[in-house]
Point group: C2
Chain length 335, copies 2
């Protein structure tokens, strides 16, 4: 599609623009070691690259900046393998070596880690309850009409659901329901829990408890995805336009949006979404680098880095990959 020299020129433009945030002119490109042609030649090629949509000019007689298409080509074709630096690797290693108490806390810390590795905002979506299997179920009577259902998952996560009844429930029924729930749920993942044959009239109280519990667990499992976002302060320095920053932060505050954004990108088989590819107009100047992580070999959740389109893709890609990998492993061991 692009001859070798044009590709090199494009690469030079993108890397320099990522560094300097300034439109880059033919002179700079020609000065780079690995392109040994004159500025005039570079100009011709750059004009061609612009015609083909890889570059753009903010205005006549300024240098070129990459378009979304330009970035895309860069990450797809020109991206280096991107190893993490020694100190970063060390940071990751140290982080996962230390023991983490509660999974929520750990995921929040992971988002901070990822943010500090990449100097961008980072998103960590907690494991979906459906994936992990249930390790234990417990019913706790709060008072006569309220029961708390505590479910412990194989990855160490704990979810709790409060059940409310319109009639008093006695301790015996609670115990009976607890036993039944245990046999139903323990060892299986939430998605696979079989609902007992539904009699329209649930005669016994314990049956009512079981049915309500299952309903709650299944109903809420989806919306209770935990999202952790770190390093939002980085976004401020990465963008100059105040308006933009505000919009971006606003998006990050809507957790549901963030989750679906990440999963949408992933479902399209991408690991990088650039500009409008993210699916959000407000993120037109952003890029999203995502990776899934697995627990015990099964897809569990997503992590990602959100930065300006002119971010260090190779760094971000490797950071995201490494962290996803380690995170999955740690969570697997924990289970």
């Amino acid at each position: 599609m692009l001859d070798e020299r044009k590709a090199k020129i494009l690469q030079a433009v993108v890397t320099e623009y990522i560094e300097t945030a300034q439109p880059v002119g033919s002179g700079h490109v020609a000065a780079k070691a690995d392109v040994k042609v004159s500025p005039a030649t570079v100009r011709n090629d750059m004009a061609a690259l612009e015609a083909e949509g890889f570059l753009a000019q903010p205005h006549t007689s300024a240098g070129r900046i990459p378009t979304e298409k330009g970035y895309r080509f860069f990450v797809d074709q020109l991206g280096g393998p991107g190893r993490l630096g020694a100190s970063e690797t060390q940071q990751v290693r140290a982080f996962f070596a230390q023991t983490h108490k509660q999974i929520d806390q750990m995921l929040a810390d992971t988002s901070r880690l990822l943010s500090s590795l990449t100097h961008n905002a980072a998103v960590v979506v907690g494991p979906q309850p459906e994936v992990t299997t249930v390790r234990s179920v417990q019913l706790v009577s709060l008072n006569a009409r309220n029961i708390l259902l505590v479910v412990v998952f194989s990855n160490g996560a704990v979810e709790k659901y409060s059940l409310e009844f319109s009639e008093d429930v006695d301790e015996l029924s609670v115990n009976a329901a607890g036993v039944q729930l245990s046999t139903l749920m323990v060892g299986t993942s939430l998605a696979k829990i079989s609902t007992p044959s539904e009699q329209n009239e649930q005669t016994s109280i314990s049956e009512k408890i079981v049915s309500l519990a299952l309903e709650k667990v299944k109903g809420e499992s989806h919306q209770s995805e935990h999202v952790f976002i770190g390093g939002t302060s980085q976004m401020v320095s990465n963008f100059d336009a105040v308006r933009k920053v505000s919009e971006i932060l606003h998006i990050l505050e809507e957790q549901l949006v963030v989750v679906s954004l990440l999963e949408d990108v992933l479902s399209r088989g991408l690991s990088v979404a650039i500009g409008r590819e993210t699916g959000s107009e407000a993120l037109a100047d952003c890029a999203l680098v995502v990776a899934p992580y697995e627990i015990d070999g099964e897809f569990a959740g997503t992590i990602g880095v959100l930065g300006p389109t002119r971010m260090h893709y190779d760094q971000a890609l490797s950071a995201v990959a490494v962290v996803a990998n380690r995170l999955g492993r740690t969570l697997s061991e924990n289970g």
Copy 2:
């Protein structure tokens, strides 16, 4: 300290500056209905107010802006009762009327509520585990050497702690330890849990489990304070200096700092901390409005609003008060 007219002038300056973010001149103050003196007189008083440290001039021949001392006097002496508007009240009512599943989720939502009420960033510090009593304790064996300790509190919160052993633990010992932990912990608050007479050599495995469990619970209870921060995007529009915003966001990312900030303010008996009173240099241009909330009549946690010094104090104060009140009530009922 200040004669009536000066107080009125100060009030006029502060309110107008809060509205416009512009230094306010003598003309504007004189134009206000309730001060019926000429601009010249206002000028004299404003000069006096400046000499006394309530006002400052950005430069000669600009209007005056309030100093920290000016805001402080305004808040202490001139603050109206500050009722919430009808729509805001409605918003709060609706929020607490709806049922909330998990306490963490609810607290996070509360921070968003508070933020949307005040158009500022909002902080919600979750209930401290020490306050609420333990409702139930359960030990779950993860594998031969790892046990998960799940503690359910009276307010519906659940904390989990993972215990790791250097030797295999058998199911019998776990059960025995579970029983003992239950008798020790259930019904008391974490702070009051009595440690059993410490024999230097714990002969039985179950005793080791109990001792490790108590150690974990007591040790981690303090650092596992949950903090929820909402509406950070508001900060961007409230400040113009990009540098400032970045610093402020950075502070908000450090949860421990935020918690101690709030509690420090509260411990000084303040409900409003202005500028440097917050105790943080980076928050010199910010003000912090805080309120504690109670569960079953006992101090449980803190909520707060962080905004620019030129924030709507009366609005923020009443919003914080109302939300703290309702939040405490809701959490009390839930337990």
